[in-house]
Amino acid sequence: MSAPVAEDRTPAGPPTSVSIASGPLVGPVLRRVVGMLAARADLPLDRLDDAILVADLIAARAPAHVRDDEVRVDFQPGDRCLDLVIGPLRAGGGQALITDAAVPGVGNVIEQLADELDVRPEGEDEFLHVRLTYDG
């Protein structure tokens, strides 16, 4: 899957990075960081809920696809925009993580909620980029 980055809405500066050993802390930590940064990006409440749903899915599915038994996510809040980069993932892990986000009867949650979604190879690893925006 590939989608071009349409617009640069992210500010310069280092991202916020979170690395969590696979286990019970991944979900609680990720959802808190995502919630705070989505609020800072001035996303409205419904998009903030979307962002937390994406975080929960990453927490549930990413441990099966990460390189080193550790889930790492880089966040960059922008102007009504939140970018997440999940990885390093194993080769093929980016698409596998997207596929795993399918919920019976609902469809693929990440594909439905993300405004941009693409897998970026980097050496032997992959990184999944997810962008959530609000243009209302």
């Binding site: 500066g13 280092p14 916020t16 990075s17 979170v18 690395s19 969590i20 050993a21 286990g23 019970p24 802390l25 609680p28 930590v29 808190r32 960081v33 919630g35 705070m36 940064l37 800072r40």
Partner: protein
Amino acid sequence: MMTATVADVHLSLPARAENVAVVRHVMGAFGEALALPRRRLEDVRLAVTEACTNVVRHAYDEPDGLMEITVHPREDRLEVVVADHGRGIGPSVDRAGPGLGLPMMATLCDELEIDRTVDSGSRVAMSFSRGMA
């Protein structure tokens, strides 16, 4: 002496005031996941907030320096390290004499280690028992 093992959680954030709130909020995840007593969790949050605030106020002259927070849950305790790559801990520029931050952190945690090196940053390591102190 606190042990160095694989970190369970590591956060790296720009050293800005608004990110202190992010760290404080994340510490709530440990209270939830580890079933920390409420008062103990408040001790952890207050001490970590103080350590992060020190980084924001004192570590860097330039914007976008990083503060690094590492959390190791252990069987009987929670270890938290707050580090920066700036000038290290020093006196406040806006007040005379030492502040209350370090004594307060020492009171709130069970073990406190402070490493400071000019030009290579500071490292504050705190250990909290998972029951009440």
